[in-house]
Amino acid sequence: MAEIPTYEGTFGHAEAERLLWRAGFGPRRGQAATLANLGLNGAVRSLTHPPGERWVGPRPRDEKGRPLAPADAWGHDHLWWLDRMVRTSRPLVERMTLVWHDWFATSNAGVGSQKLMLAQNRLLRRYALGSFDRLLVSITANPAMLIWLSGTDNRKDAPNENYGRELMELFTLGEGNGYTERDVREQARALTGWTSTWKRGKGQTDFRFDSKRHDTGVKTVFGKKGTYAWRDSASLCVHHPKHAPFFVQKLWSYFIPEPPDPRTRAGLEALYREGFEVRPVLDAILRHPALYTGPRMVKPPVVYIAGLLRGLNRGVDTTAWVWLSDGAGQRLFNPPNVAGWDDSRWLDTNAFRGRWYIANTALEKVSLGDKKGKKGPKIPNDPEAIVKGALAVLGNPTIRPETRRELLTFARGSLQGTTGWKAESYPPLVANAVRQLLAVSPDLQTC
């Protein structure tokens, strides 16, 4: 087997910080230092072999202090998951659940049931670090997916190609990569048979395989003949020679922006083919030099939000996160289409503004001089202290020296020559602005 390179440089605060962002949702206060102490292997192992679930921080609630109703109330599905991202002790499990949500992108816009979407989410989490083989079989028969890609409409006298096509194009092989239009049609036949019942007040329910709806004839898929059914459909794809390269390239791209070198790719493919297990592949990716020495990645909006809350030590306490996240381009349980979110285009002028208001809302509880009649902590008329304070509020993230200088220039310029009432009232204004600018700086939008 080809040797997969491992990072051998210093594993310090900055490296631990990057690992926590890429494999999770950023550090909680002091967490980067703790992780750095474990060394690279210990740090990665703590993520890929996490202890039992523990929740850290305040429980989620809406702005009136009521608990969430994720299966019923609008937007609470999003908040429920965001809370897990913020409070989990198993960040990689949540991050991989998000990866699968993007990989098998199912939208409630087509499913129309938060309950079914949450059930799918539990399935994705169960296989977060597990077997892709078994995940694929399970997702093929998953009720939300059966609705989303017309699986329950696919029957022998009226085949529907929707799932069969995406199974190969998006989930396992890549567009046009090792299959033909004929394979699409034959896979659709193999996948026939699922159905459900509509019940008033319950919606689609009783999802089941009905052999009367299944096409029992011989199908030819990838040049092989058999009386294939839905499990075979999934299995044929996983065992297709082009699947492992597709899988490795796609999984890699969630963690490292530049494609793996040929030696790494070959090594990861061999590792994956041993049993279609996700964990060993992840373990190798997270220890790869390219993760620590390569370029930065733009944080997906929910990662950006969860990370801000973790850094600020704030829990989910407002439903605003639903529309704020959507405004930046990522509403959980509502990916734009079955191909998921476009990770190469998270930022444009509109999404940037969306992130501005995310930062603004994240910082609202620590905003200075906002409450009438209440005196907050005294902010000195000192640009250096203001910038240092802003960094501390956001959990002391690593930033470029140039960014720090620019913030100092802003603070100095704003405080320059302030006398009288301005000398008193401007420092908190400037401190609020520096925090806001820091939170939306290119340094903190990327990791």
Binding site: W74, A109, G110, G112, S150, D153, D157, A158, P159, N160, E161, R165, L170, E175, G176, P257, P295, R296, M297, V298, A320, V322, W323, L324, D326, G327, G329, N337, V338, A339, D342, R345, L347, D348, T349, N350, A351, F352, R353, Y357, L363, S367, L368, G369, D370, T403, F410, S414, L429, V430, N432, A433, Q436, L437, V440, S441, P442, D443, Q445, T446
Partner: protein, 460 residues
């Protein structure tokens, strides 16, 4: 498809963003324009003095308050032709848009989905075809000679993946690897390095057809909501704060593409903020008032078109604009109702937009192109829907179009081996005509192998 609470969802979103922007009032399409209101008052952030200036009266922007580049672009603006690209996402069923009710195979292939006898008006250029009743506004514009119907557009070796086929259309070539949009390459050729408004996505995010290699482009959900407010920051500190966004975007990125992307976004956002200053409401006044009624309701599509007409009227330097039509067109099941509603809102909005442009004297400058990634299978499936097909339908709308059909309806008797409609015109030929005849540029420099594709006549 389409979800029961989609409506309330978008409503909440809209309100949400308005709250973030200090409770901006909504545009209310259809409000008559009281004398002296609307865009008569304009506000600029003048960089030199760091102040918001309100300017009253005057028909055009006062470009001297903008940077030189914007000023020059805006000054050249009034003659500039504008292309508006409207995408029907999901593969709209051309055999529903213009139903071949006169084709003997139609009712056989579409037993459940066929138009009811007598519904929809006849398409005057081809007696076999009937307009979908929801497209009555387009039929009306067609009657005025303002619509070119393209009944079978596509390309050879049609790809039935949404994402691939859409990508082909967006990049203007059957090439998976091309990473710039066809309109983006147009801007790279003729655009300015300092004017992101030249390529505007009226959307949450960038429309890929506008992706450029060098020139800045912008995405804005609605032009009256582009602001940067922060809690506990006001006065000149607030003005400086917004200016610092651009400065953070200008810092060195040390060759790191991730940092560069984030920096570009910051820089472009700060610039767009300046450009859209006139559209931010002041003193609780509505910023955009339209001279005609747009469809009511909270859908963003008519509001975006109303905003677009106002931006054009204000002389902002737009060249190409892209947005998506409301709804989804991937109608694998229960096609009839959803399609009907989505088409109606789309067509009603497009008619209002055309009338708005006419009322503002802008109609001769604007061409609307309506497209979709593919048509759908001729034979309906068992779920009351249709699967992915090949050739689809498209429209060109505007006062300058020839009003003549482009290509022809290929007929249901000559489907391809997969049972799909065959294309009678190629989308690259259409792009070539748009680039050469409407935008006045050399298509060969933008569409790979452009000369191989016949250029249809699109203008009067």
């Amino acid at each position: 498809m389409g979800c029961c609470n989609e409506h309330s969802r978008s409503e909440l979103l809209r309100r949400g963003l308005a709250e973030a922007g200090k409770g901006l009032p909504a545009i209310e399409p259809g409000m008559p324009m009281p004398a002296g209101t609307g865009l008569d008052r304009r506000t600029f952030v003048a960089r030199g003095v760091g102040l918001a200036l309100a300017v009253y009266g005057g028909a055009a922007l006062r470009p001297q308050v903008f940077d030189e580049g914007i000023a020059a672009a805006a000054a050249a603006g009034p003659q500039q032709k504008v292309l508006v690209s409207v995408f029907l996402d999901g593969g709209a069923d051309s055999l529903s848009l213009l139903a071949p009710t006169g084709d003997p195979l139609y009712r056989q292939l579409r037993p459940r989905l066929a138009l009811a006898e007598g519904s929809g008006s006849a398409f005057t250029e081809d007696p076999r075809l009937t307009w979908h009743p929801s497209l009555a506004p387009l039929a009306q514009l067609h009657g005025e000679g303002k619509v070119n119907v393209i009944p079978g557009i596509g390309y050879d070796d049609p790809n039935q993946s949404h994402f691939t086929s859409r990508h082909y259309w967006e990049v203007g070539a059957a090439d998976e690897r091309l990473a710039t949009g066809w309109l983006g390459r147009y801007l790279d050729r003729v655009g300015r390095h300092d004017n992101p408004l030249q390529g505007l996505s009226l959307d949450w995010s960038l429309q890929p057809s506008l992706a450029t290699a060098r020139m800045p482009v912008a995405a804005v959900d609605a032009p009256d909501r582009y602001d940067f407010w922060a809690r506990g920051v006001w006065g000149d500190v607030g003005t400086r704060m917004v200016e610092t966004i651009a400065k953070l975007g200008e810092l060195p990125t040390h060759g790191d593409p991730g940092l560069k992307q984030a920096s570009e976004a910051a820089k472009q956002s700060a610039r767009l903020y300046e450009q859209l200053a006139p559209f931010r409401p002041k003193d609780d006044r509505k910023s955009i008032v339209s001279p005609v009624a747009y469809p009511a309701g909270d859908d963003r599509f008519p509001r975006r078109l109303a905003g677009l007409a106002a931006m054009l009227a204000a002389g902002l330097p737009l060249r190409v604009v892209a947005l998506s039509a409301p709804g989804g067109y991937d109608t694998h099941d229960n096609q009839a109702q959803g399609l009907s509603d989505d088409l109606k809102l789309t067509a009603d909005s497009l008619l209002a937009f055309q009338r708005d442009l006419e009322a503002r004297g802008l109609a001769d400058r604007v061409l609307v192109h309506v497209w979709t990634e593919f048509g759908r299978r001729a034979k309906e499936n068992g779920s009351g829907g249709t699967d992915h097909g090949a050739a689809g339908a498209g429209f060109l709308i505007g006062s300058q179009v020839s009003g003549q059909m482009i290509g022809e309806f290929p007929g249901l008797g000559k489907l391809d081996e997969q049972g799909n409609l065959r294309a009678t015109s190629d989308f690259r030929g259409l792009y070539r005509a748009i680039l050469e005849d409407w935008l006045g540029t050399d298509a060969a420099a933008i569409i790979p192998g452009a000369q191989k594709f016949a250029r249809p006549r699109i203008l009067r």
